[in-house]
Every structure is written in structure tokens, then in C-alpha cells.
Symmetry: C2
Subunit: 200 residues, 2 copies
């Protein structure tokens, strides 16, 4: 079987959320598995000089409109959360810990975290909220709470982000298919075509 495709995402990224709702079906259509990689856009922006969308004049207002419009076009439920954006250490570390035990459950967990934030408006930057989303999936709250402060988990996430930067990842969602990089949920049709044809 071909290599999995790599899916990079930040839990505070609306387009990352849309990507998370679509990537498994897209890859599955072509018989490919997906490796999910949380990143921290706050760290990435230190390399690229980027800034959160809402803080950018004109582009910020446009983005808030485009999130809603694009979600609706894809038929994905979306409600602009407040606060936005948020720091995503807690959900990203939680993902790393769950992933270490069960990669399939970790994907369901990531989607549940995204929906908690972008549908229910739950602030998942708060560790207790991340833990409560995990609990709904049967993940042990005590053990997860401990993991969130575990140096090994912090290091694992840091290594993930460093590895992503080393591969040229600068945004969310970001997908790498057999070495070919694609940025943005608006490149998913190109990814579909690339997976079907092997490139053009």
C-alpha cells in the first residue's frame, strides 16, 4: 500500500477544521491512509512572520466572512467562536498523548475537539474543556490531565512542530502527498486530482 498522506492542522484554524472533516474521505477514495499532525501556528508564525487572520486589516474581516461562506458551501456546520483565535497547546498535547496509544481514536478525538470549538463554542484552550471532550470518547480524564503537564508530551509536540517546519509547513491545513505540498482546504480538489493522476 502507498504511503499515508500527511495532514497538518492547528486546532484554532477554521480551515483546518474544514480540512479535518474532509481529509479522511478524500484519502480513502484513493485507498490512502492519513497521518494526522497537530501544529502550533503561534510557533510557525515566529518563523514566517505570519499573524492570526483576524489581526490583519481588511483580510481579517474578509476571513471571518469566508469561513462561514466556505463552511456552508461544503455543508459543514460552523459557528464563529469567541475567543478566536486561541492557543492550542492543550488540545495539541492531548492529541499527542492519545495518539501514542490509539491512532484511530486520536483522529476521532481531533474531530471532536474541532467540533467542540467550531460548532459548540467550547474554548478548548482551557485544559478542563479539552479533558471533557476526551471524556465523552471514553478517554481517562485523570491520566490525560497528568499527560498535559508531562514533559515527554510537551517535547513530543515540540518535535512535531519542528518536524513540520523542517518539511516547509507554514499554515493550516497543510497536506503533503508523496512529497508534494498543498496548503489550504481550497487545494483539496488539487489533492484529489493529484492522488488520481500522480501529478500533472
Amino acid at each position: 500500500m502507498a504511503q499515508p498522506i500527511d495532514f497538518y492542522f492547528d486546532f484554532s484554524s477554521p480551515y483546518g477544521y474544514l480540512g479535518a472533516e474532509k481529509i479522511e474521505a478524500l484519502a480513502g477514495k484513493h485507498g490512502r491512509d492519513v497521518a494526522w499532525h497537530p501544529i502550533l501556528l503561534g510557533v510557525v508564525f515566529k518563523t514566517t512572520g505570519g499573524a492570526p487572520l483576524p489581526s490583519i486589516p481588511l483580510k481579517g474581516e474578509y476571513s471571518l466572512r469566508d469561513f462561514v461562506r466556505t463552511a456552508r458551501l461544503h455543508g459543514i456546520e460552523f459557528k464563529q467562536p469567541t475567543p478566536f483565535p486561541i492557543s492550542t497547546q492543550a488540545p495539541a498535547r492531548a492529541f499527542c498523548w492519545v495518539h501514542g496509544q490509539d491512532a484511530v481514536l486520536a483522529k476521532r478525538f481531533a474531530q471532536a475537539l474541532y467540533r467542540a470549538y467550531f460548532v459548540d463554542g467550547l474554548d478548548i484552550s482551557v485544559a478542563d474543556n479539552t479533558v471533557s471532550v476526551a471524556a465523552r470518547l471514553g478517554i481517562d480524564s485523570e491520566a490525560l490531565r497528568a499527560a498535559l503537564n508531562d514533559a515527554a508530551i510537551k517535547d513530543k509536540l515540540k518535535a512535531e512542530v519542528d518536524a513540520a517546519l523542517a518539511r516547509g509547513v507554514f499554515g493550516s491545513p497543510f497536506v503533503i502527498v508523496d512529497g508534494e505540498p498543498f496548503w489550504g482546504v481550497d487545494r483539496f480538489e488539487q489533492i484529489d486530482h493529484w492522488l488520481a493522476t500522480g501529478g500533472w
Copy 2:
């Protein structure tokens, strides 16, 4: 007939070039006319804090790859020019002057300028090169050369850029359909859908 759709573009923008190759057919399919508006991204970036893509770490390298890949997917000839990006006062002022006399010719002129830069590698920031592209379309070289230094034409372009910023335009291409803003050639399918349905 419905209002024309507004198409904003910078002559140094690869995605603007791709948009310029596609916008007339897209609008025509829905019985709409297109009003072409040159902008100066250098001026826009002073408002938004933006920067030319090649200067941005990671994103710059990705973009150079994405220009070529996206052009090829659309079946549009594209060769990364050097220097890139360029300042676009000369072609934008030339467009404004031609547009004042013949709006249809101005569109053909814009497409010719884009192809000169992104296919033939001609540096259209140089006034002589912009004039030579115009001459091929039968536009008077002497008169155009004079217009490029005419304060009225400079003011007209400045007014175009100010008006664009006032409407929230922050990138290229940028399209406004009945008040609804769309940024990027990767939103052209949304524009198509919007024109067909009146929104969703």
C-alpha cells in the same frame, strides 16, 4: 442587465494573471460584464502589513511551486519571470490611460501585459516595455509615453487603489460580485456557484 462584476488585479501577481485569463469567460457564462481595476499591492501592503510572497520564509518557496502547478492545472502557459515581483506603476498607469479611451481594448491590453511578463519574461515595470506591448495592439507609443508621466493619470490610478482599499480589497485577484467579496483565483469556483445561485 445586472451590474458588472469587479475584478481587481496587480500586474505582478501570478494568481492575478491566472484570474485575468479566466474572468471574462466566467462572467460571460452568467451574462455578466467585468469591470477591470488595476491595484498596486505595494500600496495595499502598507495598509495590511502584507509582504510579497517570495520574501516570506517557507510560504515563498511553496508559492513558487504552486504558481506553476496551478497554472498547469488550468492549462495556462506560465513561466516564472525574473525579476519578481516588480513594481507595477507603469503598466497600471498605462491601463488607466487606455481604459479612459477604450474599455474593451484596455482588457486586451491587460492580458497582453500579463502574458508579456508571465510567458515571455518581459519586465513590464520598465516603461519602454509596457509601451512596446501597447504598440503591438496599435496603441500610440508617443501618446502613451506622455500619459505615463501625466499627473492626471497618476491621480486616476491613486484613486483606483484608494477606492479598492475602501471596498476591502487586500490581494490579487480580488472579485466583488453584487457586494460579495472573493479573494484569490481559488475562489473562482465559488464565484461561479454564486453567480449561478445568487448565494448560498
